[in-house]
């Protein structure tokens, strides 16, 4: 098991290096001079030349790559040209906001989709199964910006129960917690459907196993069969999927963040990308990939803890 994790950590390292090279080269070899891209289309030739000299852009690519990596490793993420502050001053704050939103959504999402998935999967093809399944397909099919528009129209414009923006400032007279209701609901609508289907599929498969049939035939209470025999076995695969959602959540919250003007990480990357703010894009992308890869390792760990057949091999 230790060897397995040493291997996964090595994989993580290789992936991070590869991704850092890809991102660096992507930004490097796109049409246009880097200094020109930073200064914008109206900069004079002299200005471009000065900035090129200042940033050391006239040196070979690989030297600059290693310099950049060296800087990253010492914790210097560079200076943001759009937000006019060191990247370190903004990126962790934004990441924190997004993590908070993701954590709230995750904490509701997991029990909700587990319960719905088990209910649907315990009697395959039953009425409850069909209605939960169809409903979950429908909610997953609605893009987040669309459910944002629908919910905002109902609860903000027509009813006036909730704030339309979630800027995390109480200036508008809405307490902070009310600003989380709509963003979290939108995230839940989009993700829960998928997770319910995963739990359901796993549950359906477990319910066909001989030990379940035996448990039912020996007269055990159906509820006991579900919770004692089926549930734990059915949750092995979904737990991995749940953990992988953390990665999707953190980066794909960008849509919700835009819809509700939430000061988050994804929105920061989008704003930086639109303004060609390279320091923020590079740092943001690397952090996003790091989160993605490390949640995969955590997912494997969860899988091993839950599945004794793998643990003791």
């Amino acid at each position: 098991m230790l060897r397995f994790f040493a291997k996964r950590l090595l994989d993580l390292l290789i992936t991070m290096v590869a991704v850092s090279v890809i991102i660096f080269l992507l930004l490097e070899f796109t049409p246009g001079d880097v200094a020109q891209k930073i200064l914008g289309p109206f900069a004079t030739k002299e200005q471009v030349a000065i900035l090129t000299e200042e940033l050391g852009l006239n040196r070979p690519v690989w030297i600059r790559y290693f310099e950049w990596v060296g800087q990253l490793l010492t914790g210097d993420l560079g200076f943001s040209t759009t937000f006019k502050v060191p990247v370190n001053d903004i990126i962790w704050d934004r990441l924190g906001s997004t993590l908070r939103l993701a954590a709230i959504a995750f904490l509701i999402m997991v029990p909700l989709s587990t319960v719905l998935g088990v209910l649907a999967g315990m009697r395959e093809g039953g009425k409850l199964d069909r209605s939960i399944s169809v409903l979950s397909i429908a909610t997953t099919s609605i893009p987040e910006f669309a459910s944002g528009v629908f919910l905002a129209t109902i609860f903000v414009i027509l009813l006036g129960w909730l704030p339309g923006t979630s800027t995390l400032s109480t200036a508008g007279g809405w307490p902070i917690w009310t600003q989380y209701v709509l963003p979290v609901t939108v995230v839940l609508l989009y993700y829960v459907g998928y997770l319910v289907r995963m739990v359901r599929a796993s549950m359906v498969e477990v319910m066909t196993r001989p030990y379940i049939r035996t448990a039912i035939l020996k007269g055990l209470d159906f509820r006991a069969v579900i919770w004692k025999h089926a549930f734990r076995n059915a949750m092995i695969t979904p737990v991995t999927v749940f953990l992988l959602q953390i990665n999707f959540l953190i980066t794909s919250l960008v849509v919700v963040e835009i819809v509700f003007a939430y000061p988050g990480f994804g929105r920061m990357i989008l704003e930086a990308a639109l303004a060609k703010d390279y320091a923020v894009i590079e740092a943001g992308a690397l952090i996003a990939v790091f989160i993605a890869v490390s949640t995969q390792v955590v997912g494997d760990l969860g899988y091993m803890i839950l599945n004794p057949r793998i643990r003791f091999k």
Binding site: I137, I142, I157, T251
Partner: protein, 289 residues
């Protein structure tokens, strides 16, 4: 999956008709098929159905953008007829999404077949590359590619392929690994067929069950992604009528003119629901035979 019975027996068309007739047994699948066909018809007959030119500004109506008897779905902030733009927008999305999925499938199937059929170092190399690409969150990759190379149909398709092809390759690889051990592959090898023939004629048609379901789901998901990019302002360049882009333009005025955002949102949601219901119906059928 019908590995033993198929061998692409003469009429591929017949097999398709059979599949479609089976769909009648799945009410959800039928609803999905109905919605998808509805939008396809709308897209095909867009020039006939749309009451106005989608890019024409109605200057006389600029003071009153709300839905009215002349403009059923109202006008957008540039005074263009919303109904016409939604009708033409169906054409945009139903051209770009299948095109993107098609290219991704071409690349993904080729890579997956190669990796699954040859195994060895080809497989190891491809798995490595696949894992690295899959570790980059799609939306981040989209944002970087589109902002760097500019929004256009070609760039959109390249970005989609880069993201979807590894996933498709992984799916096809898994199925190929299983199918390459089957008797009909051994028989083809003994007949002296080439590797290319075996991969394309023997293995690929037998992998179609899960692939058709994935194709439907992926088309729906791609439509969402195109909508999201449009909403984020990274979609197709104006004035192309694009549902996500329409929401992007109208969203700031949700309070005064909700119709500008709501109608395109209903359009895109219904189309994706259609594809996903269809996929569910297909899955039910493929489980049966």
């Amino acid at each position: 999956m019908t590995a033993t019975t198929s061998k692409a027996s003469g009429s591929v068309l017949g097999a398709w008709f059979h599949r479609i007739s089976l769909l009648r047994e799945s009410p959800v699948g039928m609803v999905g098929a109905f919605i998808v066909v509805f939008w396809v018809v709308v897209a095909i007959f867009a020039p006939v159905l749309s009451p106005y030119d989608p890019n024409e500004t109605h200057y006389d109506m600029l003071a009153f953008l709300h839905p009215s008897s002349q403009h059923w779905f109202g006008l957008d902030s540039s005074g263009r007829d919303m109904l016409s733009r939604i009708i033409w927008g169906s054409r945009t999305v139903l051209i770009v999404a299948p095109l993107a999925v098609g290219v991704a499938y071409l690349v993904g199937c080729s890579l997956g077949l190669l990796a699954g059929y040859y195994i060895g170092w080809v497989d190891v190399l491809m798995s490595r590359i696949t894992n690295i690409i899959l570790s980059i969150p799609p939306i981040v990759l989209f944002i970087i590619i589109i902002t760097l190379f500019g929004p256009s149909v070609i760039n959109l398709i390249i970005a989609f392929t880069l993201i979807a092809a590894p996933q498709i390759a992984r799916l096809v690889r898994g199925i190929t690994l299983e199918l390459r051990e089957r008797d009909f592959v051994a028989a083809a090898k003994m007949r002296g067929e080439g590797s290319l023939y075996i991969m394309v004629v023997e293995i690929l048609p037998n992998a179609r069950g899960p692939l058709i379901v994935d194709l439907c789901l992926r088309t729906g998901y791609t439509i969402i992604q195109i909508g999201v990019l449009g909403f984020l302002g990274l979609g197709l360049p104006p004035p192309t009528p694009d549902w996500g882009g329409m929401v992007n333009q109208g969203y700031a005025q949700l309070f005064s003119y909700p119709h500008m955002s709501i109608f395109p949102c209903i359009a895109i949601s219904s189309l994706v629901i259609g594809f996903n219901f269809l996929a569910d119906g297909m899955r039910e059928i493929s489980l049966r035979d």
